[in-house]
């Protein structure tokens, strides 16, 4: 592995740490997820390593439970948005013509509405469940993925080897998955990292506004909101989940930077 810098290793380490937390967090948690175990906003102690929150629940426990839910929803939303955005984007780029026009205009309309407001409207109408949340975030994010994958695929679709496949009589599915897709992966993987961060932050802001994951289930954005008042008392409790969000975002971005550098040098070599 050439060209791996310290920052990339740090990025991978952060991602690994958070992934393990998401997988095994509930097993490591000292208390139950919504168990009231102490006083309101108790300071750090051996009993409560990160103190307690506005209802006297252990912050470390809720952080560990929140990890799997927050990361899981964001990951599912990012994956789904890529599935939707990439299939439509590739279809538009490779087929072209009126399909491209119809899809592009539809996406333009969706993008014209501010994302957060659109999400707030939809979520206040629909029942607040994890599935609805994932779907809303995924669909809104997929517009950006569509734009990128269409642009990247268009560059590849005009190459002679794609024409060779068409002249051979290959079906659309082959042309997209075998000829176009492998040549568009590096920028899309980099984009996936960024999109995951956005989905993650988006979910956190929705939770902060009360439309994301519903209490008493723990999630990081919601934890910031629950404890927001503590700021006025000079307590750092709300900053702990905020820091968790920030650290994971930075970690993912470090890895994305590396991936972007790699794909741009590969392109230059080609």
């Amino acid at each position: 592995m050439r060209g791996i810098s310290v920052s990339t290793i740090v990025g991978f380490a952060i991602i690994l740490l958070f992934a393990l937390t998401a997988l095994f967090g509930p097993l490591l948690a000292p208390y139950g997820e919504s168990e009231v175990v102490g006083d309101v906003w108790e300071p750090f102690s051996a009993q409560f390593p990160l103190g307690t929150d506005s209802l006297g629940r252990d912050v470390l426990t809720r952080l560990l439970y929140g990890a799997s839910r927050t990361i899981g929803v964001a990951l599912a939303a990012a994956l789904l948005s890529f599935a939707i955005g990439m299939s439509l984007g590739f279809l538009a780029a490779v087929v072209g013509g009126w399909i491209d026009h119809a899809l592009s205009r539809a996406i333009d309309i969706l993008m014209a509405i501010p994302t957060l407001i659109f999400a707030l409207v939809v979520l206040s109408v629909l029942p607040p469940s994890v599935i609805v949340l994932v779907l809303v975030i995924a669909i809104l994010d997929s517009t950006r993925v569509f734009r990128l994958s269409r642009a990247v695929a268009m560059d590849v679709a005009v190459m002679d080897f794609v024409e060779v496949a068409r002249l051979r009589g290959e079906r659309l599915g082959w042309v997209i998955t075998r000829e176009v897709l492998p040549n568009t992966l590096p920028p899309l993987i980099a984009e996936f990292g960024l999109r995951f961060c956005f989905a993650f932050l988006f979910l956190s802001s929705l939770s902060f506004l009360g439309l994301g994951i519903q209490p008493p289930a723990a999630d990081w954005g919601g934890m910031v909101r629950d404890n927001a008042n503590a700021i006025s008392f000079g307590l750092i409790v709300p900053l702990i989940p905020a820091a968790a969000i920030a650290i994971l975002t930075i970690g993912v971005n470090l890895v994305v930077d590396w991936q972007l550098r790699r794909s741009s040098t590969a392109r230059r070599r080609a």
Binding site: R2, G3, M159, D160, F161, E163, V164, R166, L167, R168, G169, E170, R178, E179, P182, N183, T265, R269, A270
Partner: protein, 548 residues
């Protein structure tokens, strides 16, 4: 005459992506007198452009001038301060790039760009610089010299732009101009005009020049001396006459004698044509790209379609393959009428007609191995799998003279000529009746191209395929065609058996095309232009390419 440029034991190194420095130019020495023209010739990778740029004290990104010395009027350029180099570049040494279209800024008028160097360096005020530019336009035989420079780069033709770039280099009256393949991207009939203009201009102004090209016949018209380079080393150096008529090194001899591929076989037109195009007219929007074209490819022969850019020859390939359905006319394969659209054709019809592209780099998927690339038509058309498919891929690699081990490689690990052979193997895998070769050798060095042509001829003898060979290169046509179609502006100008088309009397356009191909003879350029002028004065019909 005095010594102008003296390069001694110059070493230039290049570095690619984290690897060690590699020597690209390995100890080259040269001397250039004032007013002398030195030709640097070699194939790609010979280091000729790198040496040319070093005369400006410049190394491309990823390269460095490692050792040796470059003296201009006795002043050392290697290691000179950046400010000093800036005073020299464009003033005492100027550069003319291969692609003028890429070298001009599309947002500014030609005059502003042509006079920029002289004005910015404070050699001339804007007014006299403009007057000088107009004088040079006239000298370079550009149309309407007073107004020419008021246009934007996209408003003039490629040949005119190349001459404008020469004017840009000359406006500050440099002592030395480095010409880097200035006519390579041009059509032959344009090349001859640009070449003549450059030759007269540098002779009249007394400018010395380094003329870089891969085409010995071109450099023979303009250079006093020639240096032959290969892999960054000097192969041979001498006066033009000596290099051309008494080459010493084997490599130079090979360059002089390139294109010895010759084909001597008799064919008799028999019944059904392998492929036939009848009365085809095709449009790009409103533009008529092909007008009533009828051509016929006889079984196991080669039909060469010759023409310059914009003649419609590549459009013809698109029509035959079904990528561009014609508005009228038919395409037949062994008498069987093909549907106009690609998607209406059957798998078998697609199989019988294969296409090989000009640029092997983009015709091969960089993410597939050679085995996947050649194997796909085998499984797609014949349902071959596994071991059986692998064996056939190896056979095909063998028939295009590539080692079997290449099956596991990716295209980026192959050279240009090898990639083109893989493209040929992929076409062969479909066992076609007709292969359309679209400028298949024009992106390759002469000797590599020669090998590919030999291969195509051998395969034709073995498999009885027919070729429709699209090219702008008449030397290739002479080498491999059985019959020839000459196209010009979307129409067929002349067609027939090779010897009929290539021997007089010609259609005026064919005449212009044939006479514009540089020959490896000193004085060819002057003789040809004098011949054209004489014909014109006798009132004969001569097409003129001056305004392209």
């Amino acid at each position: 005459m005095s010594l102008l440029l003296e390069i001694s034991d110059l070493r230039i190194q290049g570095q690619s992506e984290g690897r060690d420095w590699v020597e690209l130019v390995k100890g080259i020495s040269l001397e250039l007198e004032t007013g002398e023209v030195l030709g640097l010739i070699g194939e790609s990778g010979a280091g000729k452009s790198t040496i040319g740029l070093s005369a400006l004290g410049y190394a491309r990104e990823g390269c460095r001038l490692a050792a040796g010395s470059i003296r201009l009027n006795g002043e050392e350029l290697l290691g000179a301060a950046h400010e000093r180099l800036r005073e020299i570049r464009g003033v005492r040494v100027a550069y003319v790039a291969q692609s003028a279209a890429a070298a001009f800024n599309p947002a500014h008028r030609l005059n502003a760009q042509v006079t920029e160097a002289a004005v910015r360096h404070g050699i001339m005020a804007a007014e006299p610089a403009l007057a000088e530019a107009k004088r040079l336009y006239a000298k370079l035989r550009l149309p309407d010299p007073d107004r020419f420079g008021e246009r934007y780069p996209h408003q003039v033709s490629g040949g005119q732009l190349q001459r404008a770039m020469t004017a840009m280099a000359m406006v500050a009256r440099p002592q030395l101009i480095v010409f880097d393949e200035p006519t390579t991207a041009l059509d032959v009939t344009t090349q001859i005009e640009v070449l003549a203009a450059i030759k007269d201009a540098i002779r009249d102004e007394g400018t010395a020049a380094l003329y870089i090209t891969h085409d010995l016949a071109v450099v023979a018209q303009i250079a006093d001396r020639i240096m032959v380079l290969r892999y960054g080393e000097l192969v041979e150096e001498g006066p033009t006459r000596q290099i051309l008529y008494e080459p010493q090194a084997d490599y130079t001899r090979a360059l002089v004698n390139v294109r010895r591929v010759e084909l001597n076989k008799e064919h008799h037109a028999s019944g059904l044509a392998a492929a036939e195009v009848e009365g085809v007219t095709a449009l790009y929007g409103q533009f008529v790209a092909l007008k009533d074209i009828s051509v016929r490819v006889e079984p196991s022969t080669t039909l060469a379609v010759v023409g310059e850019s914009g003649s419609g020859k590549s459009t013809l390939a698109r029509v035959i393959t079904g990528l561009l359905p014609p508005t009228t006319g038919e395409i037949r394969l062994r008498g069987e009428r093909l549907p106009a659209r690609l998607k209406d054709r059957t798998k078998d019809q697609l199989r019988r007609l294969q296409l090989i592209y000009q640029m092997p780099d983009v015709a091969l998927n960089p993410r597939q191995t050679i085995e996947e690339i050649i194997g796909r038509p085998l499984s797609f058309y014949f349902g071959r799998r596994g071991q059986e498919r692998r064996r056939r891929v190896e056979e095909l690699l063998d028939s295009v003279e590539l080692p079997k081990a290449f099956a596991r490689r990716y295209p980026s690990e192959l050279s240009g000529g090898q990639k083109q052979r893989v493209c040929i193997a992929r076409a062969l895998a479909a066992e076609p009746e007709v292969i359309i070769c679209d400028e298949v050798t024009s992106a390759l060095d002469a000797q590599v191209a020669d090998g590919v042509l030999r291969l195509l001829l051998r395969l034709q003898a073995e498999t009885e395929m027919s070729y429709l060979f699209i090219t702008h290169d008449l030397a290739t046509v002479k080498a491999i065609a059985d019959s020839i179609v000459v196209m010009h502006q979307g129409r067929v100008v002349e067609q027939g058996a090779k010897h009929e088309v290539l021997s007089p009397p010609h259609d005026p356009y064919t005449e212009l095309l044939l006479s514009s191909v540089p020959e490896m003879e000193i004085g060819w350029l002057d003789r040809t232009l004098a011949g054209r002028a004489a014909k014109k004065s006798r009132g004969e019909l001569v097409l003129d390419s001056a305004d392209r």
